[in-house]
């Protein structure tokens, strides 16, 4: 049994960006896989209440950033696989850009004198 790691809340507004980035890196994923990917890639630091993924996914579906197609898992279970659209790719670029600017600004402030 592994020790319980220190877990952090995802900063507000970044969940969508993380999902977009996750989908940009790989082939279509279902909801659980996206959650797993974020959890593992962040070495378990970023903690999401996993259910909150789904409202975000629905919002993004409506905005046409991602597409959802039903397929089968390895165990032959029905699951919705999400993939990035052209619009989503543009949105990701915008978000990354914004995030970079914000974190640069924050870093500049936090820079030890």
């Amino acid at each position: 049994m592994s020790a319980v790691k220190q877990r952090e809340e995802i900063p507000p507004g970044t969940l969508e960006m993380l999902i977009l980035k996750t989908l940009a890196r790989s082939q279509p994923l279902h909801g659980f896989a996206i959650a797993e990917f974020i959890l593992e890639t962040s070495s378990g630091v970023l903690q999401v209440e996993e259910g909150s993924l789904y409202p975000a996914l629905q919002r993004m579906l409506l905005k046409d950033w991602i597409a959802g197609d039903w397929g089968k898992t390895e165990e032959n279970r029905r699951a919705r696989y999400y993939s990035l659209t052209v619009e989503g790719r543009k949105q990701l670029a915008r978000e990354l850009d914004r995030y970079a600017r914000v974190s640069r600004a924050i870093a500049a402030i936090l820079q030890p004198v």
């Binding site: 659980f32 209440e49 996993e50 259910g51 629905q58 029905r78």
Partner: protein
């Protein structure tokens, strides 16, 4: 894009919700398995997975908010809730919906009649540019300078037909694209089966182009066909072609015999075409003939004979056209002072003009049905408030538990709208049924009523009314609910007593209801009094067992008065010998069928001219119609052109024109050079125009003295010993024995003629009576429900009073006093309202003032009586309450 997706999602929302649930379930399962693999016990793994996932229900809510259905979901939820609440209270729902159905149904029916008769455009192209044109007299009193009672036309102006001689001048006024004239001119159709008299119209050549209608086959009339001596041509209706000619292909160009002359058919009108005169009437004009006015007529400006119809030039208003006509009239007046001094042309929109006769009563009925809808609204509002009071406790609890005021109000309003929608549907169905009944019993002569139906106007008015009523009656309870103070409401009682303001509201509604019904009752009472006054009017002649008919002899065979007289003398002789015939009359016109009037001088006095009605009658006329001779002698068979010119007059003639002097021995002349006619007898007054007609001075000339009268003998009547209908075929045979080609028309008993004349009034009265009955019934339900509820609410108070020794009589008085105050206030308000509103009925009344005290008293007494009875039922229940039971309820 987003909206489209949203809508797509909305319609698949069950599917989408299921999909979402599946996704989440899979997620939980996969997480649980993963946790299990990392060493957790299966039960713990499931639990931990759920914890890590969060509250699935909350996320689902969030998602449906994202999908944007919340508003709709809530509306649907409210609707479902509303319908459920109504289903749970079927009696309440039924009463509310029925009340609305009745109110809306009556309105829908009356409005569809108004729509058909007055609002729907006329069936001609660009009907808004069509006007009818007539002439009217001005300074009419100058013509009748006698010292007696007013004679002839009453009031400032009287409408008359147009003089064809003036038409050319009116055309030149520049406001019209075209001005046509038409006049009904029935003709005898022969050589196509039995001889028949059919509806025809003589029209100027441009009649169809003014209406904007072209014959479906053939062509319209040519200008040169509209002249004396032109070829005889006719344009026939589609119905004539189909029914009389069997739709024969060769009909165009063939000839038909009209008044014994061959007319070539040059045009067949489109199916459904109706002349403006006959719009919506069952009888259609079958043949149109060129008017071909004679040169005499075209130069005689004093002969007013035809109806005018014109099409305004685009952009020209009625007022502008009227101004242009007035300028023409001013010129004509100077040019021809004798004939045009008293006349001017007037125009009005054709549609308004055609509806003119009935529009007034239809508006009155629409107003009355509007009052009924108001009463229905008040009633339903009352019911809803009683219900809302009953649910006060529920509302308070919900508010105490944190429900907002807005959702509460929204829910109550939704319930009201459910009721309104159901009422609207039921109302449209009711209206349709009422409309069918209405057209079935509507008297003849209301233009276009038979085509009344449901169109978009009727539907939108019904729906608009329903929405409005829903808002009106829904507002009161909703507002009430929003005023609920949960703490106080919960404190005061477990059962809602309805706060003081609620009680005031309901009382105000009841008062309004009583007042509205009183207004309707007074209106109905006034019409009923008018009708009974009318029924009591003595016509002055006997109408029973008299059958009348019209025998129009064509000019071709019967060239002059003598020829026509001989026909009728022969016919009289033959008919008199039929068994069951008591007396035979012929005249230019029988009573109820129009007549003729002429200017006269009395005893050679050229200063004063009078205008009595004239009739040319045979000696048997007075006996047939039962008009008693009062003085002198009656007309006899010896009063022919060879004898002295004689006349019989009525009492009104003696009274008004001779100032009660004995008329016998006086003479009259129809002009300075006309023969002097001696008055030889006086007969009883009769109302020639029926019960609503005035008694006018009458002169009866002898039909045998054909040189004295210019009109044609055309009406025939027989007094029989038994049922007059049985003699019709025998009389027809005698007519054909004299002339085999001669049709009979308008065969009706005098009773029927008199009855038809009052049919419209009877219809009106009946409708308003029904309306008043509905209003009173609704008011009774209203009073009953309010008092019943109030007694229910005060049960414990009444119980305490009785336990303390109050006798049942005192309790009864207590409740009745409360009712009495409401009823009295309502009646007082209603009397004021009726006084204000019924003056609009004045034109519909006959022999009764709009302020007739009997109608008011009757309405007040009737309404008070039924209201007190309605109050008595709950009052008695209150008086017989068992104090123990009443107190235990607390």
């Amino acid at each position: 894009m987003q909206l489209r997706r949203r809508i797509a999602v909305f319609f698949r929302r069950d599917h989408e919700t299921r999909a979402l649930r599946e996704e989440m379930a899979l997620h939980l399962e996969l997480r649980a398995r993963k946790l299990h693999q990392s060493g957790l016990a299966p039960a713990d793994a499931g639990f931990a997975a759920r914890r890590q996932f969060g509250n699935a229900a909350v996320y689902q809510d969030q998602i449906s908010a994202i999908w944007g259905w919340n508003m709709w979901e809530r509306l649907l939820q409210d609707l479902r809730h509303g319908i459920r609440m109504l289903v749970k209270a079927p009696a309440f729902a039924a009463i509310a919906v029925l009340t609305l159905a009745l109110g809306l149904g009556i309105n829908t029916a009356i409005f569809s009649a108004v729509n058909a008769v007055m609002l729907r455009p006329l069936p001609y192209p660009q009907p808004e540019r069509l006007v009818s044109l007539w002439e009217e007299t001005i300074h009419s009193d100058q013509r009748f300078s006698s010292g007696g009672a007013p004679v002839g036309v009453k009031g400032g102006s009287a409408r008359t037909t147009v003089s064809p001689a003036n038409l050319a001048d009116y055309r030149a006024c520049g406001a019209f694209e075209g001005l046509a004239a038409y006049d009904s001119s029935p003709v005898n159709l022969t050589a196509l089966g039995a001889p028949q008299r059919i509806a025809g119209e003589s029209v100027t050549w441009n009649f169809f182009s003014v209406l904007g209608v072209l014959p479906a086959e053939g062509r319209p009339f040519l200008p040169e066909e509209d002249r004396q001596g032109a070829n005889l041509v006719t344009i026939v209706s589609h119905e004539f072609w189909q029914q009389r000619l069997g739709g024969a292909a060769g009909a165009l160009g063939s000839s038909v015999l009209l008044d014994s002359k061959p007319y070539r058919i040059v045009g067949i009108l489109p199916a459904g075409f109706q002349s403006p005169q006959k719009l919506g009437l069952k009888e259609t004009t079958e043949v149109y003939l060129p008017a071909s006015y004679s040169n005499d007529l075209l130069t005689s400006r004093g002969d007013h004979e035809v109806n005018g119809i014109a099409r305004l030039k685009p952009g020209v208003s009625v007022a502008a056209a009227q101004a242009a006509l007035s300028a023409i009239n001013a010129r004509l007046e100077k040019q021809f002072p004798d004939t045009n001094g008293n006349f001017r042309a007037a125009i009005a929109y054709l549609g308004d003009d055609l509806a003119g006769g009935v529009s007034y009563s239809l508006w009155a009925l629409l107003g009355a049905s509007g009052l009924i809808v108001l009463i229905a609204c008040v009633n339903v509002a009352n019911l809803l408030m009683v219900r809302a009071a009953g649910r006060r406790h529920e509302s308070s609890v919900r508010m105490a538990l944190g429900a907002g005021r807005l959702p509460l109000i929204r829910q109550l309003l939704t319930e009201s709208l459910v009721i309104a929608a159901a009422g609207c549907l039921a109302g449209i169905v009711t209206g349709r049924l009422l409309m069918i009944g209405l057209t079935a019993i509507a008297p003849a002569g209301i233009p276009r009523i038979d085509s009344a139906g449901m169109d978009w106007r009727v539907f939108s008015v019904a729906a608009g009314l329903a929405l409005l009523t829903g808002a009106i009656f829904g507002m009161a309870p909703a507002w009430q609910a929003s005023q609920v103070k949960p703490v106080e409401a919960l404190k005061t009682a477990m059962r809602g007593t309805g706060g003081a303001s609620q009680v005031r509201w309901r009382m105000a509604l009841t008062v309004a209801e009583v007042a509205l019904s009183l207004i309707l009752l007074v209106g109905a009472g006034l019409l009923l009094r008018s009708f009974s006054t009318l029924m009591g009017v003595n016509l002055g002649f006997q109408t029973d067992r008299v059958i009348a008919m019209n025998i129009n002899l064509p000019q071709v065979q019967y060239r002059d008065g003598q020829a026509r007289l001989q026909f009728f003398q022969k016919l009289e002789e033959r008919v008199r010998s039929l068994p069951g015939v008591q007396a035979v009359a012929y005249a230019n016109r029988m009573p109820m069928r129009g007549g003729w009037s002429s200017g006269i001088q009395i005893d050679g006095d050229a200063e004063n001219e009078y205008s009595p009605d004239f009739q040319a009658v045979n000696p048997g006329y007075f006996e047939t119609l039962g008009i008693p001779l009062l003085r002198g002698r009656s007309l006899t068979a010896q009063d022919t052109d060879r004898g002295v010119a004689v006349a019989v007059v009525n009492q009104a003639f003696a009274h008004q024109l001779l100032h009660d002097r004995d008329p016998i021995g006086h003479t009259m002349q129809r002009g300075p050079d006309a023969p002097r006619i001696s008055i030889v007898g006086v007969v009883n007054d009769i109302r020639r125009k029926g019960k609503e007609g005035q008694i006018k001075p009458e002169v009866y000339l002898s039909a045998g003295q054909t040189s004295l009268y210019p009109v044609r003998l055309a009406d025939f009547a027989v007094r029989t010993a038994g049922d007059p209908h049985l003699l019709v075929s025998a009389i027809s045979r005698e007519v054909w024995a004299v002339d085999k080609d001669q049709p009979l028309t308008g065969v009706e008993t005098m009773d029927e003629l008199v009855d038809e004349a009052v049919a419209k009034r009877r219809f009106q009265t009946l409708l308003l009576l029904i309306f008043a009955a509905v209003a009173v019934a609704l008011a009774i339900v209203g009073i009953y429900s309010v008092l019943a509820y109030s007694v229910e609410q005060r049960m414990s108070e009444l119980g305490i009073r009785m336990a303390l020794g109050a006798p049942p009589r005192a309790i009864l008085g207590l409740v009745l006093r409360q009712a009495g105050v409401l009823i009295a206030a309502g009646i007082a308000l209603g009397v004021v309202g009726a006084y204000g509103l019924t003056r609009f009925l004045q034109d519909l009344l006959f022999g009764v003032k709009a302020t007739d005290w009997r109608a008011y008293t009757g309405a007040v007494v009737l309404l008070s009586a039924v209201a007190v009875i309605a109050a008595l039922i709950p009052a008695r229940r209150g008086a017989h309450v068992d104090p123990v039971v009443a107190l235990r309820q607390e």
